[in-house]
Symmetry: C2
Subunit: 220 residues, 2 copies
């Protein structure tokens, strides 16, 4: 493999890790803003989102450029097109963090989630942070084991999502309609965040092994 | 352009139109199932979704194959990678129709939406159908005008989405928490369906003109 091409691929990898770290920070900040009704944190998430989009465009441009200049075949091509797919999944994770932040701002100065839901969202936030950290590691080390572990974290997020509805649909739910609707939408944002991370993990496995774990976008 | 290559590109286009028609039918059927609490229609949506996924894989395989065999440059490459992006957006539209259908099944034999929300979802269904029809046309005719009109339909969907919350958050909402949560999640499925259609429209414009309308995934 030519040195220049190898250097270009490393650059794509670095950009993807950068994106993964950015969306990890975004959702961590969004969760903190949500739990603490913190307007500044929520606004920070929104202000920094263009960075994620800019990184996405850089990955796109780099992949286009490499495809055009290097006329890659077989495994190189798979690598480049998978990098595009990965970037798209990570970009969506950033968008979901923005949705959480916007919900915080919509209800400010009140907290967007009532007391009965706080513990669940604390755990959702922690799970999201763990998942995003694993994506970062999986990409930078091309680590299929780390990527494979994500399915378990996704199961954990699904369980929290189910718990959420158990609380909101219980007979003793007294927080009202708006709070339940916010809770349901926020729950979906965290659930989709985990889904995209699992998809990203599948991309990493495909990138390394050529194996398309059944359906590459299994989580929906 | 070599005849064989041209034929291959036409095939990719046909596959994309096929996908667009399939997700239009899926959401139409899902809406009908939702409004009529029709279990059979909802199950049909779910049963037919693998067809959309199979078409997506065909597009992916075809694009990979063309990239590898033809070593395309410049505008050809843009076409192929945009086709991938389009296919991904259309696949998500199919997944959203499945979510609507699953909601119908979860509440069956009751209707998943209460009377006060029926009119709004009838209109959301009609808007979704109009939007999906335009995507089909835009792709098959490479029609940037049709693709450009989608932003207006997206605005219409956003307005209906806002109306929905107006009804559910009104002081006289008496349908309960679960119905409001279902309404909010269903509303989000239709809203995201329209978002993906708008993104697909932007892909068509980019494909034809090379112009990336500001941000190519503008709608979120």
């Amino acid at each position: 493999m030519r040195d220049e091409y190898r250097a270009d691929l490393l650059q794509v990898n670095k950009l993807l890790v950068w994106m993964a770290d950015a969306v990890r920070a975004a959702m961590s900040r969004a969760t903190s803003g949500l739990l603490n009704a913190d307007q500044t944190e929520a606004e920070e998430v929104i202000a920094r989102d263009p960075e994620v989009k800019a990184l996405y465009r850089l990955v796109e441009d780099k992949v286009y450029d490499l495809c055009a200049r290097q006329a890659p075949v077989a495994s190189d091509l798979r690598l480049l097109l998978t990098a595009l797919h990965l970037a798209a999944d990570i970009e969506r994770m950033g968008a979901l963090a923005v949705h959480v932040a916007k919900t915080t701002l919509r209800r400010h100065p009140a907290r967007a989630i009532p007391e009965p839901l706080v513990a669940t969202f604390e755990q959702m936030g922690a799970t999201a942070d763990r998942i995003a950290g694993k994506i970062s590691t999986a990409i930078s080390k091309l680590d299929v084991v780390a990527a494979g572990q994500l399915d378990r974290d996704d199961d954990a997020m699904d369980k929290l999502h189910t718990d959420l509805f158990g609380i909101m649909f219980a007979a003793d739910w007294s927080e009202g309609t708006e709070a339940a609707v916010d809770g349901a939408l926020l729950g979906r944002f965290y659930e989709r965040y985990a889904d995209h991370a699992v998809n990203a993990g599948h991309q990493v496995v495909f990138l390394v092994t050529g194996e398309a774990l059944g359906s590459r976008d299994a989580a929906q």
